[in-house]
């Protein structure tokens, strides 16, 4: 499985590009239209965060395999200001769009696996995986 794409993010046009590529990759990997949409939405939100908070960053999209399943991995990384309080950012109020407006709890709900690491002043990396049913 060598499908991989790296998209530099620095403007809203890159956000659109990243999510279109994500959708395409998801469909290539035989995800349902529904899941491809979820993946595109997650990529859109993560990319927007990069533009809004860090200015520039990178989104990596990769087809992956694990335990015999096929999946898609999203890595959104930036060297921006970072998140001081990750717990706050991840607090999931019911139907809210995230404690700090980053939409991260929502993105976590869209993904099967979710990981975030961030250091104030160093940057943030969010990794999400969605497995094909």
């Amino acid at each position: 499985m060598t499908q991989e794409a790296q998209i530099p993010i620095s403007s809203d046009k890159d956000v659109v590009l990243a999510r279109q590529q994500g959708r395409l990759l998801a469909l290539q990997l035989d995800f349902s239209i529904s899941d491809a949409t979820l993946i595109a939405m997650a990529i859109s939100e993560l990319s927007r965060n990069i533009v809004s908070y860090a200015g520039t960053g990178t989104v990596i999209l990769k087809g992956i395999q694990g335990s015999g399943r096929i999946g898609l991995m999203i890595v959104a990384a930036d060297a921006g200001p970072g998140i001081a309080d990750i717990a706050l950012a991840m607090r999931d109020g019911f139907s809210s769009s995230g404690g700090l407006g980053l939409g991260l709890p929502g993105v976590r709900r869209l993904m099967d696996e979710f990981d975030i690491s961030s250091e104030p002043g160093r940057g943030t990396t969010v990794t999400g995986k969605k497995w094909r049913l």
Partner: protein, 120 residues
Amino acid sequence: MEVPILKQGQFLIATIQAALSDADLVQLRTALVRQVVRFRSLGVIVDVTAMDVVDSFASRTLLEISRMIRLRGADTVIVGIQPEVAFAMVQLGLTLEDIPTALDLEEGLAYLQQKFTTTD
């Protein structure tokens, strides 16, 4: 890419194409407000059938369009949200709050017409 806005009687219909940039959405908002004032429209339908992703920015802008148009005395109806998109939107908590929604253009027009002909 400019979004085409059609006038249908007392209503305006904006049909969004896919792959809309943020700037295009903001431009649509400005254009709709201007045209509502110009034509004294009673209602606006925004058709998002072709949008394969409605993310937080798009949701926010649609909400803004609705608010700004309401200030000019008109209603906004969002039509054509795809089932998959609707599902993803609610997962992200994007509910479009109190903006009226309808299945498609036909239903959207029916809604507006019903609303504005009850004064018969």
